[in-house]
Symmetry: C2
Subunit: 337 residues, 2 copies
Amino acid sequence: MVTMRDVAERANVSIATVSFVLNGTKRVAPETRTRIEAAIEELGYRRNVVARALASSRTRILALLHPDLEARPNATVIQFVMSAAHGARERGYDLVLWPVNGDEQMSHLLAGGLVDGALLMEVQIHDPRVDRLIASRLPFALIGRTEDEDLPFVDIDFVTTIDQALAHLRSYGHRRVALVTQRTKAPSGHEPGRIMRVESAYRDAMAALGEPPAVITVAGTSAGGREAARALAEDAPEATAVILVNEGASAGLVKGSRELGRSVPGDLSVISASTTAELGEMIEPSLTVMAAPAPQLGRLGVNALIDQLEGVQDALPHILIPCTLVPGQSVGPARPS
Amino acid sequence: MVTMRDVAERANVSIATVSFVLNGTKRVAPETRTRIEAAIEELGYRRNVVARALASSRTRILALLHPDLEARPNATVIQFVMSAAHGARERGYDLVLWPVNGDEQMSHLLAGGLVDGALLMEVQIHDPRVDRLIASRLPFALIGRTEDEDLPFVDIDFVTTIDQALAHLRSYGHRRVALVTQRTKAPSGHEPGRIMRVESAYRDAMAALGEPPAVITVAGTSAGGREAARALAEDAPEATAVILVNEGASAGLVKGSRELGRSVPGDLSVISASTTAELGEMIEPSLTVMAAPAPQLGRLGVNALIDQLEGVQDALPHILIPCTLVPGQSVGPARPS
């Protein structure tokens, strides 16, 4: 039976260095890595992670419970997924993609014994997945929040994000600012928590400014964006600017406004929040965006979960990070009313 | 020790139905599923997939080796990832996201014993990952192709895709058609195979038509797209149309052309190939695209791997599917020369 020590001796390195290469947990100089890999192949060393998992009752596998991204993947959600995968690998864990449509795949997860813990995305206000995780005592962390803010979570700070977007628009003279959010097919109470939080942050901020709110809810598609352009022109004609928290509708809103003879930013200034700067750049004119902190939050979420598993103290974080303003060409001076 | 039979008896269903719920391999009526889940919880049934894996020396876990998607996720690549994850789950396998940057994470994969097989994306012409997989005898399938076309693969049929794009442009009177492909940082021979295949399909097709080729290679970014617009105007001014196989540069090419006083499609018709219709719709004017068969290929790739693992005959497929034309507003009649 070849051991890790045999590999270390043959390659003339420490056992720790062999472990770094095998687990991918730390960068090892290319020449050293090549030597260790040669020793592994010569000696025919093969670790049995399955036997190790049985001995330790730990698999070092985490599940990422994500919504159905197959139909219409969204640039920001993907950044969450990829940064979580990288973050897991850096700490020596593997991340399994776990497509959950409603309650479908939860039994397999909970009765399977495959994973040490779960990371949830697109968290709903009342999330049945969370109830089942709590009942099963499987450790978990959330990217997003339920109504119960005592659970461990990392999330976008929508209050600060909306406040900063409004402050930016007000510096250009805009007072009447509408909000466009996303309509989902989820039954009431099961919408992603962010939709409720964005709307309530917006209403609070407008009330504090003494301005009347105008909220438009459309599907996250090009057609939804065009619908929002029409609703803005007809139902909120006094709005000179709009904050959009609906990535999929952003291009359609700009195109739809133009088709109605309203130019961006001449007649309507637009900020697209919780999206990526790359996506904003694709649109004409380039959108001013509030870029989502997705790369950070994916890593922080997976770290929050691993900290729980490894018994790190204070491993139940409540982390909020706002989006970052990236100016484009879609915000201009408010038109005179 | 509670068994699956106990659960089946308590829920008054067959053992197979319990298995469908636990593995998520087949849709079970919601009431039946609820009854089975209640029985699992009441009896405290817990399968030990780790013990089962040790007994069978199979883990039913597959690795998806993907490039670094963290920095600039690409709409089409994500469709591959998500459809592969769904396809695996439908056959009772789990898919681990395995970020591979160069040769970094291969040792962990090959010496780990965690996975039954690997699915590779962004396959290079000479792909060192493939060499190591062959040496280690870990079953694998490719989404894309190396030079060795005997390996099991699924891929986009670039010959048919380019031919159909050219036929569409020629029906509008275009004869001089340029190609814009993607520059990568990979050393020569390690570029993604698709880049070489696209260029060679284009050169062959233009030669067959008796027209001179013009190939422009730029980064997959907005800046790259603008660079392509300038190169088209300066180095290939006779081209009245362009086929773009560079998703990230598509918006920049259209914006850059407009900035140079060349309208799309008035002065330049554009087809963006191997991308998504949703992305084409975001741009102004909406791009005519050749939509990548990513949802199909992700599933076919994972099925090719699982078929090998399960000893299905003829499990070494060579599947090619062309992109599908989705007309937008970026192709018009050729301007008179």
